[in-house]
């Protein structure tokens, strides 16, 4: 089953994919382009943990001139950076490099603490596609990748669907690809991950409890390129669907930096 969370007709709804349309829980059927797509996640009572992997594909590590890590390079993201399918992501004014990252995102289904790799899949609710944008201009070597690079508003599109585990018998053998304005710029397979999903669940749950609704973004293969306002970025994973996003300039142009605002207000 492919599950979505959408805004339609003045309310937020859970929906499922049905014959190329969305089926709402009250029986209404609506077209994909008639709704606003939200991240396909049920609300949780506490802020969800969003773990994200860096350099988890050997080719991408090489692309960024790093040797493959000996243990997972993990960073955390806040929920405030998530947006849904068909939304817009802001490219800050004046930056040189903003790149997409097509990633398999894993949604935890039940509380996982000290889980062994053989049991790891029992704790997964499903899968979706994440686009974990990075603004490389802001990279600093302190808790790198730092939040100014990776935790910006609109910086993490997620969706369109949460796909049940039953529909994805082997998430470690899915083709990934990204297109920019229709041209393929990134392609790979989840089988090339350095640390696979069972490893990651065992590794994280050894020291932190993963709760239902928590996310693991499992990293991206090579093939990242700069994106500019107006570019349409589609990150797609076999069996999970295609997550579309459009780059946009900041709404306020020119954006006054905070310091400039303060100078102006003096």
């Amino acid at each position: 089953m492919k599950r979505a969370r959408i805004a339609y007709d003045g309310a937020i709804h859970d929906a499922t994919e049905h014959d190329g349309r969305l089926l709402l829980t009250d029986g209404r059927r609506v077209d994909f382009d008639a709704v606003v797509w939200l991240p396909p996640l049920a609300p949780v009572p506490w802020p969800r943990t969003i773990l994200a992997l860096g350099l988890n594909y050997a080719d991408h590590a090489k692309e960024l001139a790093f040797k493959a890590p000996q243990e997972p390079l993990v960073f955390l993201k806040g929920e405030g950076s998530l947006i849904g399918h068909r939304a817009h992501t802001v490219r800050p004014a004046g930056v040189d490099t903003m790149h997409y990252e097509c990633e398999l995102a894993v949604v935890i289904g039940k509380a996982a603490k000290k889980v062994k790799r053989a049991d790891a899949y029992d704790f997964v609710a499903g899968y979706t596609v994440a686009n974990d944008y990075a603004i490389r201009d802001y990279l600093e070597n302190w808790y790198r990748p730092n939040l100014r690079v990776k935790n910006r508003d609109t910086g993490t599109p997620l969706g369109p669907w949460l796909v049940d585990t039953a529909d994805i018998p082997n998430p470690m053998n899915l083709a990934l690809r990204t297109t920019v304005n229709g041209k393929v710029t990134q392609s790979g397979s989840t089988r090339d991950m350095i640390f696979d999903l069972p490893f990651l669940i065992e590794y994280f749950s050894d020291f932190m409890t993963l709760n239902p609704g928590d996310l693991i973004l499992t990293g991206t293969p090579d093939g990242v390129v700069d994106c500019q306002p107006g570019d349409v970025i589609v990150t797609e994973i076999e069996g999970l669907g295609a997550l579309m996003n459009t780059i946009t300039a900041p709404a306020l142009t020119p954006t006054l930096s905070q310091r400039e605002r303060e100078k102006a207000s003096r």
């Binding site: 802020p47 950076s81 302190w142 808790y143 730092n146 939040l147 910006r152 020291f207 006054l256 905070q258």
Partner: protein
């Protein structure tokens, strides 16, 4: 986690190297590998919900770590969203303050995100209560005292933060919105004390009785 009416919704963000004394201690290394340059933006990290511990609870120290580092701080709970706010207006976005104990496993490198050191279950003590901005007044006047088994081990002077509360909110909100319910820690003091299983930690703010005393006992992980 149902005992957290004060932290229902948001993400908890901490900041590294905000205490002047800690910055000064690191200054000589900042231009060396792997850092190459002093940090420009606030260096943030996240304390996930699995780390939250209510006041008075026992916090489990993993078997692999003989000692944990105590991170006393003053937490600012955001009341109205702060997005690219100026420092002059920043404190208007704070709904209240609460004491926290941001525990870490000691780690010598600040190069990679500290998830496996800072996001262990129970590793953020919070409480005992959320206090209004009017009761706290200027957060720079808060001085935190850390006691381990009754002995004073550290004093954190919030006046010594390189980015005071308002400037920190402004500089963070420049690149990400602090949403209602999000929490931003003002920073940790330098020379953070260590404690081990069996010890009792108390954090209070001298002269700010309303903030109360945040207490925890460390316990060893069951074999």
């Amino acid at each position: 986690m149902n005992a957290f009416p004060i932290l229902a919704a948001g993400t908890v963000y901490g900041v590294l190297l905000n205490a002047k004394e800690e910055w000064d201690a690191w200054a000589a290394q900042m231009s060396e590998p792997p850092y190459q340059a002093p940090p420009q933006a606030p260096v943030l990290y996240i304390k996930t919900a699995n780390t939250w511990s209510v006041c008075g609870s026992a916090i489990v120290v993993p078997a692999r770590a003989p000692e944990v580092e105590i991170g006393a701080s003053l937490a600012m709970v955001i009341g109205t969203a702060a997005q690219q706010v100026a420092a002059a207006e920043a404190l208007a976005h704070v709904a209240g303050y609460v004491l926290v104990n941001d525990l870490s496993l000691p780690h010598a490198s600040y190069y990679r995100p500290p998830v496996k050191y800072k996001n262990l279950d129970g590793f953020l003590g919070i409480g005992p209560r959320l206090v209004t901005p009017a009761e706290v007044g200027d957060p720079a006047r808060v001085r935190l005292e850390v006691r381990v088994d009754g002995t004073l081990r550290q004093t954190v002077d919030c006046a010594q933060m390189l980015r005071p509360a308002a400037q920190l909110i402004a500089d963070v909100s420049e690149f990400m919105t602090l949403r209602r319910g999000d929490v931003l820690l003002l920073g940790l003091g330098a020379q953070r004390p260590l404690a081990r299983a069996g010890q009792r930690i108390e954090i209070r703010a001298a002269g700010h009785a309303a903030l109360g005393t945040l207490t925890h006992t460390l316990v060893a992980e069951a074999a």
